[in-house]
């Protein structure tokens, strides 16, 4: 049961967004800008970072929703998301992406944990300043979203089909701006 009384039976962050619409609007706008752009990082790469950080934070709801979106956006490689979550260093992704996930991993520990060598390595692997910036921003933002969802102990369904369907809907229909309950 959630720590606060959420009137509608909406899972994860969606129940919270219905509870406090004043903060829901800018939170969704932020998710939209962070995740639904192909400038520098692709949408799939952005969702992969979000899923990875949510997994490190042990946030079941966010890991499964963003994992579903990432799977939808990156269909070429079977089980890619699971391979990244298991061990991104041996996963079939570019060395640039590995170096960016290394930065995201440090951001999850805390801003002070990001070291210059890790950033330099990303730059050597071909990452631009914009991509490094967005990696830090996405990783940091998911340290908020994950804490928000779990800190209030929101309900997260087990059914994988629910996450698959939400993932598809976010990609094909609503985005994040259109995903909050009215």
């Amino acid at each position: 049961m959630a720590h606060i009384h959420l009137s509608e039976q909406l899972p994860g962050i969606r129940g919270l967004m219905a509870f406090r619409p004043e903060t829901a609007t800018p939170l969704n706008a932020l998710a939209e800008i962070l995740l639904r752009s192909d400038e520098g990082l692709s949408k799939g790469e952005r969702e992969l970072i979000a899923t990875f950080v949510s997994s490190l934070n042990d946030c079941f709801f966010c890991k499964n929703i963003h994992g579903a979106v990432a799977r939808f956006l990156l269909p070429e490689q079977e089980n890619l998301v699971d391979k990244v979550l298991r061990d991104y260093q041996t996963a079939p992704i570019s060395s640039r992406m590995k170096s960016l996930l290394a930065i995201a991993e440090q951001v999850q520990l805390g801003g002070k944990f990001v070291d210059a060598d890790t950033v330099e390595l990303a730059r050597l692997a071909g990452a631009s300043d914009l991509e490094i910036h967005d990696t830090v921003l996405i990783a940091a933002a998911f340290c908020m979203f994950n804490r928000y969802v779990d800190g209030l102990n929101t309900f997260a369904p087990d059914d994988p089909d629910m996450y698959r369907e939400r993932g598809r809907k976010i990609v094909e229909e609503t985005g994040y701006v259109g995903s909050s309950p009215k």
């Binding site: 903060t23 800008i33 805390g110 002070k112 830090v136 340290c143 804490r147 209030l152």
Partner: protein, 161 residues
Amino acid sequence: MAFRPAIAPGLTALTNALLCTDEGLSRGERELIGAYVSGLNQCTICKNVHSAVAQCHLNANQETVEKTLSDIPHSDLSAKMKALLSIAQSVHRGGTYVRLEQVKLARHLGATDFEIHDTVLIAALFSFFNRYIDGLGVTTDDTPETFMERARRIAEQGYGA
């Protein structure tokens, strides 16, 4: 935010919605939560800015706010506020660290669902901002004077004004 202007309006709107209201928690209490979490994350820039804004709202001096933040249990804060800051401390560690007993205690001491919600979201927001600032090695060229002036402007006009 100057590097990536597209994100500025969303971040400012979120900050204003969470920090610039007296509904439930006062503006001063909200800034105190932000300063406290920033201190736990050792994010000096955020801690100093939000402590200064809290000083303005609470009509307190720097020493009083410093002393409060460095020893919450022995501070003059209300029992309810202490319970909420203990929730904020758990959120800083991670969402799954918040225990039901902490929430029950806060509620028993008079905290509403709205106040508990906002405490968790403010603590989560600063877990985000602190990482964004320090993760990119952001520094400030504020002097103590320009710094207090900025805090006063934020206290009067909100963020991004």
